[in-house]
Structures are given as structure tokens and as C-alpha cells.
């Protein structure tokens, strides 16, 4: 601490510059991560939420993980029900709605049993009580809808009413409308109340089951296959592309940070090699010097990353409401920790150099 702090105070400009770079890099990493999380949430929140309650989807093999293309026939439904008790039908359909002024909004209709734990909580208004009522995600308010508003649904060409709002239910960047059983039957073309009142299932939602059961199901199912909910996310249009490119940026930022910091600390250490040599000659041992370097690196990186976190949240607060940005505390802690580890790794090369420095050579004056 003795050397580390005094040097930081003496060479302020130099270390402020290093700190500034760490700050900028950490800010960028945090911001891009926030964006990645926000986009993932905006794209898949409705599905991600289900992961809290269930574990697997049974999806049509040929749908390539796209729920909107998948259909599970009666036979497969029966097979699944024979193996697993607590299955739920999930209906997914993408479409549009029109308000009175004929302005069109993209939405996704979801059907799940209102009594199941997959059904979201009402944040405003009421649960749908009649066939032509829906529970909508609150983001649809941005398009001018409020509780009690009516709209024209595209497949049935019937008028539906928003009975209430829920939150954080989006699919493929569109708000999700939870429709009633009756509504779903109408939309999928069957006639409610008639003999043919089977519910159309895009997928079946299964709770946690044993690997054996998964294997059995995969063997017996005709067109269906069992996938984890996590795996099914990549089937949401654009999901893997968005997440892939953003996370690639984050990984690269970390790699760049590691090299930039290593180069910085290395150059600073090289400059001070003579000093380290003198210190060694007068009796400071290597661990003493290594500790001085590490203390400096930790002080600089912790301070800079802390400022970076502050700046990220500040900028996030200033973002427009519609901008998908989400940065959970656990994520921040993880990234910040990783950043500090990267900074320390970056200084290892310097530590090696200090270990190697020859007291005699550094002083230079001892050569006859």
C-alpha cells in the first residue's frame, strides 16, 4: 500500500488516463450487455417467463423450434398425456389487430389455460370473462390502447375487447395478447360448442421430467419432439442473430480490454524497471513489489468500473421508454467482477517482468 498509493498520487495524470480507458471499456461492455438483455427480453419475455414454471416444450419436429409453425396433433397429445400428468396446451399465433382508425399493430396471440400457473398476473383491469376478451401486454398502450378498447382481430375478423393488462409479456418484439379458450377455438377455425371442439396446440408445456421420460417421449412421438424451453428460444425469429452478434461484441470487448490493459501496465512497468531494480538492490523482495502493482491495478480498476456502472445506469435512465434495455444487478456484478479479473490478468506480464529484473542491471552504474 505504501508504494502503491504514493505513486498513484504522484503520477495522477498517467493513472487517470488508464482509469479512463477502463471506465470507457466497462461502460461499453455494460451498455451492450444491457441492450442484449433488453432485446432478449423484448423478443422472448413471454417464453422466458414460462421457464420459471415449466421446463420442456413438445414441439413439431418440422417447425425447427418455431412455435408459430408448430402443431401438435391429437395422437401426440395423447402420448404425452400418458407419460406426463401436468401438461399444458400452449397456442401461439402471430397476427395483427386494427383499431377504429384502421391503424394496424403487430401482436402475438397466446393461449394458455387461465387456471394454470403459466397464465400471467393482471396488472391493470380484469381477467377476460367473455369469449371475445383478451389480456394484453401493457406495451400495447404505446399504440394507443387502453382497458376496454375494442379492436378488429385479423383471422376471425371479429371485434375483441381488452379487459386488462399484464406486464413483461412479449414475443418476437410484439406485445402478447392472452386469448380465451373460446377465442382461441374461433381463431384456429374450429366451431366452439360443436363436436369438433378440440383445442389446437402449437406446443405442449411440460414440467420438469426425468431424462428417461424425455427419451421415451422422443421415441414414441410421431411428429413431435421434446426440447427445453431455453433451446426453443433460438426458434424465435431473430433471437439467435440478435443475441449472437451482441454477445460476440461483449466477448470481443473483454478480449480487447485484456490486451489494452496488459499493454498499458506493461509499458508503465517497463518505464519503472530501474526503480524496481533499485528497490530490489536496497532489499525489497519480489512479493513486496508485486503487491504494490496489484494494489494499484485493483484500486484503478475497481474505481473505474464503479464509475462505469454509475454511468451506465445514468444513461439507461435517460433512454427513451421504448428502448429495450435491461441490466439486472447479478449481471452487473458478474461483468464487473470479470472486468477486474481481466485487469489483474493484464498485469501478470508486468509482474513477471518485475520478477525477472536484475537489480544490478537496472542500476546500470555498477558496471566497471
Amino acid at each position: 500500500m505504501f508504494l502503491a498509493l504514493r505513486e498513484l498520487a504522484y503520477s495522477k495524470l498517467r493513472y487517470i488516463m488508464v482509469g479512463l480507458i477502463i471506465f470507457l471499456l466497462s461502460f461499453l461492455v455494460l451498455f451492450v450487455s444491457g441492450l442484449a438483455q433488453g432485446l432478449a427480453n423484448d423478443n422472448a419475455a413471454a417464453i422466458q417467463n414460462m421457464e420459471n414454471e415449466a421446463e420442456y416444450f413438445v414441439i413439431d419436429e418440422e417447425a425447427e423450434l418455431q412455435l408459430t409453425r408448430s402443431l401438435i396433433d391429437d395422437e401426440d397429445q395423447q402420448i404425452v398425456n400418458n407419460h406426463v400428468d401436468d401438461t399444458q396446451i400452449l397456442g401461439v399465433h402471430q397476427g395483427t389487430i386494427q383499431d377504429e382508425e384502421e391503424s394496424i399493430t403487430d401482436i402475438t396471440k397466446f393461449f394458455v389455460d387461465p387456471d394454470s400457473n403459466l397464465y400471467p398476473e393482471v396488472t391493470e383491469g380484469e381477467l377476460p370473462s367473455e369469449g371475445h376478451e383478451v389480456l394484453a401486454n401493457e406495451s400495447i398502450q404505446e399504440d394507443g390502447y387502453a382497458v376496454g378498447d375494442e379492436f378488429l382481430e385479423d383471422t376471425t375478423e371479429e371485434i375483441f375487447t381488452i379487459s386488462g393488462f399484464t406486464s413483461n409479456q412479449t414475443y418476437s418484439h410484439t406485445p402478447v395478447l392472452y386469448v380465451t379458450e373460446e377465442g382461441w377455438q374461433e381463431m384456429s377455425g374450429s366451431d366452439p360448442g360443436s363436436d369438433d371442439d378440440e383445442l389446437l396446440a402449437s406446443a405442449l408445456v411440460l414440467p420438469e421430467i426425468s431424462e428417461e421420460t424425455v427419451n421415451d417421449l422422443n421415441n414414441e412421438l410421431g411428429d413431435g419432439e421434446v426440447v427445453t424451453i431455453q433451446e426453443s428460444l433460438s426458434g424465435i425469429p431473430g433471437y439467435s442473430e440478435e443475441q449472437g452478434s451482441l454477445w460476440m461484441m461483449i466477448v470481443f470487448l473483454f478480449i480487447i480490454s485484456a490486451f489494452v490493459l496488459a499493454a498499458f501496465f506493461y509499458v508503465i512497468t517497463i518505464q519503472k524497471l530501474t526503480q524496481f531494480g533499485i528497490l530490489k538492490a536496497i532489499g525489497a523482495n519480489v512479493s513486496e513489489l508485486a503487491r504494490a502493482i496489484l494494489v494499484q491495478v485493483v484500486i484503478i480498476s475497481v474505481t473505474s468500473v464503479a464509475v462505469g456502472i454509475g454511468a451506465t445506469y445514468l444513461v439507461a435512465a435517460l433512454l427513451p421508454v421504448g428502448m429495450p434495455f435491461m441490466l439486472p444487478v447479478t449481471m452487473v456484478a458478474l461483468l464487473a467482477g470479470l472486468f477486474i479479473v481481466v485487469a489483474i490478468l493484464g498485469s501478470l506480464l508486468s509482474l513477471y517482468k518485475v520478477k525477472k529484473v536484475d537489480a544490478l542491471e537496472a542500476i546500470g552504474g555498477m558496471e566497471a
Binding site: I282, G283, I363, G365, A368
Partner: protein, 232 residues
């Protein structure tokens, strides 16, 4: 009188194979308590190498080195670092102070790595600085000191841990004649007062009469060792 530093049959060779050069050849030297010895000789004669070996910065190819009766030649690098810290004070050609430490901290740091109690270190640092007339400079950084002041700080630092042996490599090289004289006088006085020993490499013949003995080195051998008459 007991010998502070004993060098027995010290030999030093650099390089390998045919490029091998002998820098020191069978040097025998003994320095007593309270003795201030100058080493001189043409460049390339091995003066600095001898000093580095005496300071345990270099391990000789052969021979035995005793410091305060302890055999230094067999120490591990870690042990010799500790030995340097507690028993040897170095003064280099240029002061080689740590640029980001204030004068007082230069000394306190030595106390710290030697694990001296804080109060004691502080007291000792103040004594040393007062001794060298630097008290009014203790809050200054090396960059704001004159060359002579810097060299005196270096001496104060070398003195900080009460070393048994002080090694100085041309301590006056960066000073003008009168300053150099002054610095070496202080050094000689300290050696006598504290009953330590000091070895100084120098070319400056004017400094010889401050020393108890002048050793002339030539081609890695001691050519002559003369006693000077010193008036203390």
C-alpha cells in the same frame, strides 16, 4: 578490531567458452570495523564488480565472502535480499531515489520493508535527515532537490537500517568538487562515529585523504594497498 567484511580468494569470470573474461582474479581483502576504504583503478579493472560482490548483488565464480562473520556466498537469492536489507547500505553513482516518494518517505519505506516499528522508523528517519542537514527538505520530492541534496538523501537512505557495511559506487560522480568533498566527509564521519565500515569506489584522488586505506585495482588484482595518514 574485528573484520566487518572479508573476501577470500574471490574470482569472477563473465561469459562462456572462449569469450570468457576474467574480471577478478584471486582478490583477498579484509575491512575492519570503523574503517573507510577507497577502491580505485582504471576503468575495466573490476572495481564495480568487486563492490557488487561485496554487496551480494553478484555471486562470485569462486571464493568466500564473509559479512560480519557470516558466510554470504551460500545464501539463496531470497536470503541475500534480506541480508542486503538489514546489513548493507548502498549509495549509487546517481542518487537513484524513487521519484514518487517524498524525502521522508524514501527513508520510511526502508523502515517499512525492514518491518521496523512505525515510531522507531520515524524517529530514526528524522535523526538521519537531521544528521545530513535535510530536515527542511523532508516534504520535497526528489525532482525538487539539487544534485547534492539528492545524493545526501541517498546516503541517509543507505544509513536508515543501521547497516554494518556501506558500499558507495562513485558517490561524488554527479556532484561538483566541494559538494563531493562535503558528502564524503559526512560519510567518513558517520563510519567512525557509528563504528561501521564503508567501501567507496572513486577516481577522485582528492578524496583519498579522507579514507583510511586506498586500494588500487588493476586487471582484477589488487595492485597496491596503501595506508594514508588520516587526521581525525
Amino acid at each position: 578490531m574485528t573484520a566487518k567484511l572479508v573476501m577470500e580468494n574471490i574470482g569472477m569470470k563473465f561469459g562462456e567458452g572462449s569469450g570468457k573474461t576474467t574480471v577478478l582474479d584471486d582478490v583477498n581483502l579484509s575491512i575492519d570495523t570503523g574503517e573507510f576504504v577507497a577502491i580505485t583503478g582504471p576503468s575495466g579493472s573490476g572495481k564495480s564488480t568487486l563492490l557488487s560482490i561485496a554487496g551480494a548483488l553478484l555471486t562470485p565464480t569462486r571464493g568466500r565472502l564473509l559479512l560480519n562473520g557470516e558466510n554470504v556466498s551460500t545464501l539463496s537469492p531470497k536470503e541475500s535480499t534480506a541480508m542486503r536489507l538489514h546489513n548493507i547500505g548502498f549509495i549509487f553513482q546517481s542518487a537513484h531515489l524513487i521519484p514518487y516518494l517524498r524525502v521522508e518517505d524514501q527513508l520510511l519505506y526502508i523502515g517499512k520493508i525492514a518491518k521496523l516499528p512505525k515510531q522507531q522508523a520515524k524517529k530514526r528517519a528524522h535523526e538521519r535527515l537531521a544528521m545530513l542537514g535535510l530536515t527542511h527538505r523532508k516534504r520535497h520530492y526528489p525532482a525538487n532537490l539539487s544534485g547534492g541534496e539528492r545524493q545526501r538523501v541517498a546516503i541517509a537512505r543507505a544509513w536508515m537500517n543501521d547497516p554494518e557495511l556501506l558500499l558507495a559506487d562513485e558517490p561524488t560522480a554527479s556532484l561538483d568538487a566541494s559538494r563531493g568533498q562535503e558528502v564524503v566527509e559526512t560519510l567518513a564521519k558517520q563510519v567512525k562515529e557509528q563504528q561501521k565500515a564503508a567501501v567507496m569506489v572513486t577516481h577522485d584522488t582528492r578524496l583519498f585523504d579522507l579514507c583510511d586505506r586506498v586500494i588500487t585495482l588493476s586487471d582484477g588484482k589488487i595492485e597496491q594497498s596503501m595506508k594514508e595518514m588520516v587526521s581525525t
